[in-house]
């Protein structure tokens, strides 16, 4: 790849997709400029997790690490949904105005992207979930199948050091996981007894956290705070895995604090350059012999739409937006559990993950130990949410109940619909004058049916585990607060209905590729997407190399 630039490929976004693509390219001898709008975090100073105020802090926000978005008005909440109403005993109902709360798109800008605060579940998508249209008559098919992705899953898992069990049902493997599974926490064991009573398979979750030291990284010490950032480096976030490995090749330049504002089209159906905002407000033009967009399912379509609708020949850029359906239910167990101890999401039930596994509705889901993710790790959150009232009675309740909470979570498939999309906000702009992304999310009846099943089964699992005293429940029915989002630059074989082809390349623009979850034609049945993003990106890197 010869050109006038000092790099062969420019990648926009240094998260799960961009970092893996950078590594995949560098490993093949290709030079890369890896740009990110956000900063470089320093785990030892930005999230040491050693301070006494740890429990009231979320993952830190640094200058440029939070991109602004806007939301279309939330969906009107229709009917009585007692299983889906969000709220807690201590704080009451979350939403009282009859409209779905569009709270937040939980996205991190920075080197490592959203993997910096992800829990670190490391999942392969269910093979059948890649064929939703042909197998089940809904949504869209992936233009590739599981077998095509499997070698790239293996490569990603090896680099990350994924720890997992021997088998995961339909997710067949050509080799075992690189590391043995993590032992289950005490709370997960309690839930496991409930799952066994219900006949559910409750197994160790596959996790991007080291169960043994590997490549200079220590093993996990089970602090339970993955979502606040991992200061040790045992969590396999993209900064300590793919970015580090790309840098080690000597062929990667990483530039934080470099938001790409616009893509400049060239001649002969090729993109020419990107315009990058500098901290001082000036704009820099960077030549892009080959360009990969990896900004996620909100920012990637925003960038394309803000570049005069580049690559939107199909009209599908920004459409087919899918967020993940979620439920969390918390209940008190008679015995203390102290579920903050251990790896969050350490145990999982895949029994309802296949697209046809949930009775009466297409689209799967999965259940997991949510004790570590429910934000009840700290005393303050627990006291406010789990214990009702105030005064001496409240103090006594907190003392009596502290450590008794168990939480079960469920994540499920969201099918695409025409009302869920990412567009440009007509009124709101960033400091460079680029329109913000405006998110619309709409739940169809099938989504609600899946949510009801998830909520009911979560309660059933808690009760079977001895925790029937429910003190809180939150769901996507009345609350949008998504991290896992998909679909807005769908991959497909037909240029009329998709944005990129099966290799990850724009149907029209020969040197424009996309490597993030925006390309997913379906969301899967609640699987965490990062590993699939990694695998797709490694595959795309290989396709780029072969394309010359």
């Amino acid at each position: 790849m010869t050109n006038d630039a000092n790099w062969d490929v420019v990648i926009v976004g240094a998260g799960a997709g961009g970092a893996a693509a950078a590594y995949g390219l560098c490993q093949q001898g290709v030079s890369v400029l890896l740009l990110d709008a956000g900063p470089q975090f320093d785990p030892t100073t930005d999230y040491p997790l050693t301070g006494s105020d740890w429990d009231t802090r979320d993952f830190p926000e640094k200058a440029g690490s939070v991109g602004a978005v806007t939301f279309a008005p939330g969906q009107k909440l229709i009917g009585d949904e007692p299983l889906l109403v969000s709220g807690s005993r201590g704080l009451g109902r979350l939403v009282t105005d009859g409209t779905r709360l569009m709270e937040k798109y939980k996205h991190v800008r920075g080197i490592g992207g959203t993997t910096l605060h992800f829990t670190g579940e490391s999942h392969r998508i269910h093979p059948d979930a890649m064929k939703m249209k042909t197998r089940f008559g809904v949504g869209a098919d992936w233009p590739i199948d599981y077998a095509e992705l499997e070698p790239f899953y293996m490569r990603a898992e090896e680099l990350i050091g994924v720890a997992g069990p021997q088998t995961q049902g339909a997710r067949w493997r050509s080799r075992g996981f690189p590391l043995p599974p993590h032992p289950l926490s005490y709370a997960a064991q309690t839930l496991g007894r409930g799952a066994a009573a219900l006949g559910l398979d409750w197994q160790a979750n596959s996790r991007a956290a080291l169960s043994l030291p590997r490549n200079g990284r220590p093993s996990c010490n089970y602090c339970g705070a993955c979502n606040k950032g991992c200061p040790r480096g045992d969590k396999g976030s993209a900064d300590v895995t793919f970015v580090a490995a790309a840098l080690a090749t000597g062929r990667c330049i990483v530039r934080p604090d470099s938001p790409v504002l616009r893509i400049e089209a060239g001649t002969n159906d090729r993109v020419a350059a990107v315009l990058v905002g500098r901290p001082d407000g000036s704009i820099e033009r960077i030549v892009s012999p080959t360009l990969i967009l990896a900004c996620g399912a909100v920012e990637t379509p925003r960038l394309l739409l803000a570049s005069d609708g580049l690559a939107n020949e199909s009209g599908e850029v920004g459409r087919n937006f899918m967020d993940t359906l979620g439920v969390i239910v918390g209940a008190m167990h008679p015995e203390p559990q102290h579920g903050r101890r251990g790896l969050p999401d350490d145990a999982i039930c895949w029994d309802y993950n296949a697209p046809d596994a949930v009775p009466g509705v297409i689209g799967g889901c999965r259940f997991y130990n949510a004790c570590g993710e429910s934000e009840l790790k700290g005393l303050a959150g627990f006291a406010l949410r789990a214990a009702e009232g105030w005064g001496r009675a409240h103090a006594q309740s907190v003392r009596h109940l502290w450590g008794h909470a168990l939480s079960v979570g469920a994540l499920g498939e969201k099918l695409p619909n025409r009302n869920s999309q990412v567009r440009l906000d007509p009124d709101k702009h960033d400091r460079f004058g680029i329109p913000l992304a405006r998110i619309s999310s709409w739940l169809d009846e099938s989504d609600l049916a899946r949510l009801r099943f998830m909520a009911a089964k979560s309660r059933e699992l808690l009760a079977a585990s001895g925790a029937a005293d429910i003190f809180e429940s939150y769901s996507s029915w009345d609350w949008f607060g998504a991290t896992h989002v998909f679909g807005t630059c769908r991959m497909g074989a037909d240029p009329a209905t998709s944005v990129i082809d099966a290799d990850g390349r724009s149907h029209r623009w020969h040197n424009l590729w996309i490597a993030d979850a925006s390309v997913f034609p379906s969301s899967g049945g609640g699987e965490a997407p990062s590993l699939t993003i990694h695998a797709l990106s490694l595959r795309t890197a290989e396709k780029i190399r072969k394309a010359g």
Partner: protein, 162 residues
């Protein structure tokens, strides 16, 4: 949904919708001095988090932190107006003049009130005072497994809690 930010979210709600509304509705004619408002907020904080064997919230100075929150000024002023008006209807000069049982009943009623100002005032005080109180090292030290995640982590994570 991904499952973080409950605390931040609920704090934002307490500060957001309600406070904005009241600023518009009652930005005039607040009769009380800031000293009276501060004393009343202190009394409410004390009632809500009395300690029960541990230092109470006011002993730890939690009320001062709430009173200093500029974004809560209108909300606090309006809440105090409501509490005092209720006390006057019961024949006492103001909320501070009530005995402990009377204060307790007033706060209970505020939580259940259909009046936004009353309800959001006590909910907001509960939220901020509770968050601060149960984050105090001296309070956390009275509970097991409340220390920071690092550097030790939890070696006993597979076992029953001690």
């Amino acid at each position: 949904m991904k499952r973080r930010g409950f605390i931040a979210l609920l704090g934002a709600l307490s500060l957001g919708g309600a406070a904005a509304l009241w600023r518009n509705l009652v930005s005039f004619g607040r009769p009380h001095s800031s000293a009276h408002i501060a004393e009343t907020v202190k009394a409410v904080t004390e009632m809500m988090f009395p300690g029960d064997g541990l230092p109470g919230a006011t002993e730890l100075g939690i009320h001062d932190r709430i009173i200093a929150m500029t974004s809560l000024q209108a909300l606090m002023a309006d809440g105090v107006v409501w509490l005092d008006a209720r006390a006057v209807r019961q024949g006492t000069p103001n909320f501070l003049a009530l005995d402990e049982v009377g204060k307790q009943a007033a706060i209970e009623e505020a939580f259940k009130s259909s009046d936004n100002a009353a309800r959001e005032f006590v909910r907001t005080i509960r939220f901020h005072a509770g968050l601060a109180y149960y984050s105090e090292p001296v309070v956390e030290a009275a509970f097991p497994y409340t220390g920071p995640p690092q550097p030790e982590g939890f070696a006993d994570f597979q076992n029953p809690p001690e």
